[in-house]
Symmetry: C2
Amino acid sequence: MTDSIFSQRGSKAELEGGRVLQPKFDENGLIAAVVTEADSGELLMVGYMNAEALKRTIDSGEAWYWSRSRQEYWKKGGTSGQVQKIVEIRTDCDQDAIWLKVKVEGNGATCHVGYHSCFYRRIEKTEDGEVVLAAPDQAPVYDPKDVYGKS
Amino acid sequence: MTDSIFSQRGSKAELEGGRVLQPKFDENGLIAAVVTEADSGELLMVGYMNAEALKRTIDSGEAWYWSRSRQEYWKKGGTSGQVQKIVEIRTDCDQDAIWLKVKVEGNGATCHVGYHSCFYRRIEKTEDGEVVLAAPDQAPVYDPKDVYGKS
């Protein structure tokens, strides 16, 4: 799926080596956006954008997403103040993923649970071979109740 | 969508704070996997896994994906030797994304175009406000013809 906001998909050579942004949106019109902290390089979150959200992000210099669960545009930090100021945007070889390097405003955290990054848990195997989630290995940096008014 | 290989999705509290891996697969049965180089932290690629690919990755310690374009299981490096040895696997707050920290075998590159990372291009605006892709800012590290037998 493409969208009239961006160019239609070209040949493999154009996608991989051309100068034209031709993002590939999936059958729901979405593309994955990987978000890292520009200074530290830490992986903060993965979000999804439709063409309009990608356009808003490029134009405004602040990250916009499409919320799959709420089915609405979502400016990150609109409620929490954790606005993602864009430092750099990249795409990959076949232009089906976006990478945002950002500086986070507000309290500097990203995760609504209270952690700096949404990826606060390892997947690990116990001695018995059971696959489990480890306890969070980041300390919470804020109390979501203070930001969202509920836990 | 869930899959019988992993536990069914639980409550918000269980997903965010529990010990049970309950990955969320989309309506195509896929979950996004962000891949970074363990040593450098560099973002290498984004792939997609179905439940079986995630299980194979956890069990084997090497990254498996589901190829959306070819509709088949894909062990990264099966042809190129660029096998991704798993150093750590993480998931995010709502368990709808996977993060692999890997060590890449073979020539150490990831991208089939010849670059170390698939994200070899910035998205930028020209002085006229046109959105374009910058020229690659990584040097190619290998010639795909030598690995895949074709460009």
